[in-house]
């Protein structure tokens, strides 16, 4: 089987999310990559070095500077004439693009796979990860998004793939235009690749207290900072901190949940963490049912003390 993996990049480097997708694709067959963008020679060269990749297809076009689904998906659909499976990471871009590709190919997408069981059978989470379904497709071509935390990352070095440029003719027309973006500058490790995450919930009470308590502890542990939806909705933390069914799916070595009750939608995003530590004043909080280490008490006393002792 020939697979085509959509490479997520920022115009300069390949994003980590791509590496897990390469691992999933390699279980299906030959791995080819698609690097679409504007001025992407550097990205293509980096992509060609990823271990296990046979070919890198590039499309360099001004209209691809921002990966709009409207422009990327016809391109993918065209390349799929020579490929059997299209795979993208289950990131916001991957989730935006892949289903549109599936519609153009008239196939059902298999979302957010956790494992490759055979060339037509996969497992995927449903009901916010409260159930795992094994699904088999009868479609001739596959369109798949891959949950990054479920697959090891392919090595970014060691490969020597052939780079093949395709033309981007006809891409200029689109019904949508990119206006702008506000991407937060990260001073801490990105959540999806952080080894340790410190997350705060509604109990933090205000943005000031969130940052005054959570940030110093995260710094001591070299951790990324996350939040529950309640904390984000209350404005204590920015949107992209949100962990859960509708936020980021994370699986760090250590996840520290502080003042988070443990609603199923939150657990959906972090329950595959290796070790879960919970600090909560309510000893019956559901978070303790999944926590490896629990500490019952007032976070306003515990967290400063903990930070101090570390």
């Amino acid at each position: 089987m020939k697979t085509l993996v959509w490479v997520e990049h920022d115009g300069k480097t390949v994003k980590d999310a791509t590496l897990a997708v390469v691992t999933a694709a390699a279980k299906l067959g030959d791995v080819h990559l698609l690097v679409a963008g504007k001025g992407i020679d550097g990205v293509a060269a980096e992509a060609a070095k990823i271990a296990g990749v046979a070919e890198v297809h590039t499309v360099d076009n001004a209209s691809l500077e921002h990966p709009l689904a409207e422009t990327v998906s016809p391109l993918v659909a065209k390349l799929m004439a020579d490929h059997d499976a299209f795979l993208a990471p289950a990131t916001s871009n991957g989730k935006n693009i892949a289903p549109r590709v599936a519609a153009l190919l008239d196939v059902m997408q298999i979302s957010d796979i956790l494992s490759v069981e055979s060339d037509n059978t996969f497992t995927r989470p449903i009901y916010a990860g409260n159930a795992i379904a094994t699904v088999q497709t009868s479609d001739k071509k596959l369109v798949i998004t891959v949950r990054g935390t479920a697959f090891d990352k392919a090595s970014p070095e060691g490969g020597n793939a052939k780079v093949i440029a395709s033309d981007g003719a006809g891409l200029e027309q689109s019904v949508s235009t990119y206006v702008g973006s506000e991407i937060a500058k990260l001073e801490r490790p990105e959540l999806t690749s952080a080894k340790v995450i410190v997350s705060g919930g509604r109990a933090l009470g205000s943005s000031e207290q969130f940052h005054a308590l959570i940030d110093p502890l995260a710094d001591k542990l070299g951790a990324g900072v996350g939040a529950s939806r309640a904390a984000v909705d209350a404005g204590y933390a920015p949107n992209d901190y949100q962990v859960g069914q509708t936020g980021k799916i994370v699986a760090p070595e250590v996840y520290v949940a502080i003042g988070i009750s443990g609603a199923i939608q939150h657990l959906a995003g972090m329950k595959d963490s290796k070790t879960i530590i919970a600090i909560n004043k309510d000893e019956d909080a559901p978070i303790f049912q999944v926590a490896d280490i629990g500490l019952v008490g007032d976070l306003f006393k515990i967290v400063p003390e903990l930070t101090e002792k570390l």
Partner: protein, 248 residues
């Protein structure tokens, strides 16, 4: 301007899903079912656009007869009329998108606002597929929608922040949680909704092939996590963190 809002009936988000012992799926017998939370947000957004040029809101649901309840909820919130495409078969996102495409062809809405994902199967596909079938612009994971003339400007939640796109109409929008806070239907509006028009159709009326492409071989519970130990104080916690090599 007409807006189409597809709404799905799903297990209520407060109910803990239970996997059936025979591994065929999640038990939906005698449990509370509700409108998919993201679809409530979609209905709410359509209603809020009523001061901005929207004149008619059509709610659509595809599924069993009980989806009428979901449609009545949408009507009670403020939708003007509803279409039920009734089928006892499970319809996958591709099939839903094809039925919606047929309804779009018949109704000619300028906007279709869907939820970003249905919280049962967590597919996150239907809106993007519909946009692809229509060749229309798509703005997924919307956190802000501004309608102006023949275009719509949408702020979207993306990894790391937000992004803004401008789409020409007709366009597809899928909602994210922060777009708005859906209203509760008032009792008088619930009464009024009972007399709003609700068309009953079947997939055959649209001549669309909705045969499933996927077969679910089995559904199991995820590996269970068990509660671990409780530590008494921060000293003990620090010791554990050091033992794990997380702290020095």
């Amino acid at each position: 301007m007409k807006v189409l809002v597809p709404v799905k009936r799903v297990l209520d988000y407060n109910v803990k899903p239970r996997v059936k012992a025979d591994g065929t799926g999640v038990d939906l017998a005698n449990v509370k079912m509700s409108m998919n939370p993201f679809d409530e947000i979609a209905v709410e957004e359509a209603i809020r656009l009523k001061d901005k040029g929207v004149t008619e809101i059509v709610a659509v649901s595809i599924g069993e007869a009980k989806c009428q309840e979901t449609l009545r909820t949408a009507l009670a919130m403020g939708a003007d009329r509803a279409i039920l495409v009734q089928t006892e078969d499970k319809v996958e996102p591709l099939g839903v998108a094809k039925l919606l495409k047929a309804i779009v062809d018949a109704e000619q809405p300028q906007l279709v606002i869907l939820g970003k994902q249905a919280i049962d199967d967590d597919n996150n596909q239907t809106g993007q597929m519909l946009a692809g079938l229509m060749g229309a612009g798509q703005a997924t994971f919307a956190s802000k929608v501004e309608l102006a003339g023949d275009s719509v400007t949408v702020t979207r939640e993306v990894d790391g922040g937000s992004e803004t796109e401008k789409l020409s109409l007709p366009a597809i929008i899928t909602t994210d949680l922060r777009l708005n806070e859906p209203r509760y239907a008032s009792l008088p509006n619930i009464m009024k909704a009972k007399s709003k028009p609700l068309d009953q159709k079947t997939p055959a009326d649209y001549g669309v092939d909705i045969a499933p492409r996927l077969t679910t071989l089995k559904v199991v519970e995820p590996p269970k996590r068990t509660a671990g130990v409780k530590v008494a104080d921060t000293d003990e916690l620090v010791a554990k963190l050091k033992a794990m090599g997380v702290a020095k």
